[in-house]
């Protein structure tokens, strides 16, 4: 049985437990139908030209993994941001772990998607927001059909989440192969602020395929800083689709740190619906072996006087492959726009590959749009300069890599998180420079 067939029959079983004739059920049915029609994306599609899912689709995934595996906090402590207090929404194999979580309903809602989907008091919210920002890509549809758990966050008007929120999805690897489909919904109301850190983490080397979808709604003057830490094990793959809708004067930044995993695909979609929005998309990719990271970004400018800034840095070693496919789409009425896109790559080894494809589609005539893309090696003259000062080759290379990634790192607004990312980079390169950038 193919994975698609397995998913189809699993859906029928899943459906039995759902409330029939609800609007939500209709949304699921429609999404499932759409997935059935389109199937998994193939390399024939332009957006998937450089990323093949074939190797992932022939595994025998468990669609509804058993969830009787206990995790001790001490074993997973290192994946949390321990230096500061945070809200935590933690899932183990797709199931909420109250033991590891710290949620709240006090002024702000930091809780569960299952509650939002099932409790009647949330039904109007679900009707208003659920699947309203998401597009109809087949994998997003698949997630919508199966959506049952994830984080539900709502920050009320003029409120600020006092602590960052960590959303962590652990995969225990109890089964030989697991498929997970978390679904997050984040609503940030007028003038509200929140910082969120998202992580998907496997705890062993068994196969995991995560198809995650997150919808984020920013009302007027809302402010969101979102950080994605992707540093997973060698057989963990992630397809992460994030859909962001911004109303006027809102600011949203998404930083994606892709440091490991078998295959990582980031679909990051911004839609600016009101004037004076700012969208910031930053990423550092640092991978080796045969790892693959694909950034597919879209910023859809609909309103006037908006800005978007993209800065993606990639360092590829061994036979690692990277893709940057960044699209800025400017509607006719989106005048006085300032859109900027930058993608710089360093190939450390002769076997590493990057496919970079910046795209600008502009229908307005009074806008400032620019993009730049570079692919190169570490600067030999700079390397000699550092070495001539007594800095050993390995450290000198590390210093140059740090320096290269720095423009993205300095955008991280949580100092403890920045420190953590610095350490991850230092570990990756295998040196300790004794200072944080």
């Amino acid at each position: 049985m193919s994975l698609k067939e397995k998913l189809q029959s699993s859906y029928l079983a899943f459906e039995d437990h759902l409330q029939a004739d609800s609007p939500l059920h209709d949304v699921r049915n429609k999404a499932m139908k759409s997935f059935e029609t389109k199937g998994f994306p193939s390399k024939k599609e332009e957006a998937w030209k450089y990323t093949s899912l074939n190797a992932l689709l022939n595994k025998e995934y468990s669609i509804f993994p058993k969830n009787d595996t206990a995790i001790e906090f001490k074993d997973v402590k290192k994946y949390f941001l321990n230096d500061i207090d945070t809200y935590k929404v933690v899932f183990i194999d797709g199931v909420y772990s109250s033991f590891l979580s710290q949620i709240t309903h006090d002024v702000i809602d930091v809780c569960l998607m299952s509650s939002a989907l099932n409790k009647s008091k949330y039904s109007s919210i679900i009707e208003t927001y659920f699947n309203k920002a998401a597009n109809s890509d087949s994998l997003t549809c698949l997630n919508t059909a199966f959506a049952k758990e994830g984080a539900y966050i709502r920050i009320a008007k003029h409120k600020e989440a006092q602590k960052p929120i960590e959303i962590i999805n652990f995969a225990t690897g109890t089964e030989a192969a697991t498929m997970l489909q978390p679904r997050n919904l984040i609503i940030v109301e007028e003038n509200a602020h929140v910082q969120i850190i998202e992580r998907h983490q496997s705890l062993n080397d068994n196969e995991v395929l995560t198809n995650s979808v997150t919808e984020i709604f920013l009302e007027k003057r809302a402010n969101v800083d979102y950080y994605k830490i992707q540093n997973d094990t060698q057989n963990a793959s992630l397809i992460d689709s994030t859909f962001i809708q911004q109303q006027r004067e809102s600011i949203c930044s998404v930083h994606t740190f892709s440091f490991g995993g078998k295959l990582t695909r980031n679909n990051l979609n911004f839609k600016q619906l009101g004037e004076h929005c700012d969208s910031i998309l930053n990423g550092v990719t640092m991978i080796e072996d045969k790892q693959h990271v694909d950034h597919n970004t879209l910023v859809h400018h609909i309103a006037e006087n908006c800005e978007s800034h993209q800065d993606y840095k990639g360092i590829f070693d061994d036979s690692a492959t990277g893709v940057f496919n960044g699209k800025v789409y400017v509607e006719k009425q989106a005048q006085k726009l300032d859109a900027f896109q930058k993608n710089n790559n360093i190939l450390i080894s002769n076997k590493a590959t990057i496919n970079a494809k910046p795209q600008l589609e502009i229908f307005a005539d009074d806008v400032k749009c620019s993009h730049g893309c570079t692919i190169g090696q570490l600067d030999q003259e700079a390397l000699f300069y550092l070495r001539s000062r007594g800095i050993a080759k390995k450290e000198a290379r590390a210093l140059l890599m740090y320096a290269f990634a720095n423009t993205v790192l300095e955008g991280v607004k949580i100092p403890e998180l920045k420190g953590r990312i610095n350490k991850l980079i230092a570990n990756k390169i295998g040196v300790n420079l004794g200072f944080d950038l």
Partner: protein, 249 residues
């Protein structure tokens, strides 16, 4: 201290140095002059251990130890310092962090622990004052957006921090106005002592008014064709290089 014995060197199979011998003792200042393309910067690079330059014949020793096979960082650990003609810009790494890293890497190579933070800070302050460097300057990204003068001053600041045995100043005067030149020269003079040595590579006699050499050597076509005292530099300033060529014929 430094012995260069009959060194031949090439870059991309082009012969640049064609049998250079030079002996520099502790406490001495040597000036190396010569027309463009004579091999002055190549000589500096080959002493500092730049990989693109291939030493095809001869030996370089520091205090009797052959350094020809050593990497650039190992030569630095032995006390060789090169002030770059074109210092490289490194965005994201501050002057302070860079010099801290360099000092501690040198200490690590000698089996020493990191320099205590307070001592480091004191030293940075002292050397920055010596070169009239503004504190704000130290937190800027290394060489990024620096003026020509700032870059060169920063090179000498690094030299002051690292306290090398042998400092090679490659065209340190280029791009400097007279005031900056005086500050840089003054810094070098204060760092000079009986245990270290300086090689000054320059086109012009101007710098040598401030950093007074004990010996002046003229390189032409990859060879040292004439050596003398400071007087030689004045002659070159006055008459150019042609008379030496004629003398050679």
């Amino acid at each position: 201290m430094l012995q260069i014995k009959n060194v031949y060197a090439s870059v991309e199979e082009k012969d640049i140095l064609k049998g250079i011998s030079l002996s520099v003792n502790a406490g001495e200042v040597h000036a190396i002059m010569g027309p463009n393309g004579a091999g002055k910067s190549t000589l500096a690079s080959i002493i500092a251990g730049k990989e693109e330059f291939e030493l095809t014949k001869g030996h370089i020793t520091i205090d009797g130890e052959d350094i020809t096979e050593l990497d650039a960082e190992e030569r630095a650990h032995k006390g060789v310092f090169l002030s770059f003609q074109y210092p490289v810009e490194i965005p994201g790494v501050s002057v302070t962090n860079f010099i801290k890293t360099a000092i501690n890497e040198n200490r690590k190579a000698k089996g020493l622990k990191d320099m205590p933070a307070s001592e480091m800070l004191k030293k940075i302050k002292e050397k920055a004052d010596l070169l009239e460097i503004d504190r704000k300057f130290l937190s800027r990204s290394l060489n990024v957006g620096f003026s020509g003068g700032e870059k060169k001053r920063n090179e000498i600041f690094q030299m002051a921090m690292l306290e090398p045995k042998l400092a090679i100043l490659d065209e340190t005067d280029s791009g400097l106005d007279i005031d900056a030149l005086k500050v840089v020269a003054n810094g070098v003079n204060k760092l000079k002592n009986k245990d270290n040595a300086v090689i000054v590579i320059t086109h012009y006699q101007r710098l040598l008014d401030y950093i007074v050499p004990d010996f002046v050597h003229v390189i032409m076509d990859g060879k040292i064709v004439k050596s003398g005292t400071k007087q030689l530099a004045y002659e070159l300033e006055e008459k150019g290089y042609d008379w030496i060529k004629e003398e050679l014929v």
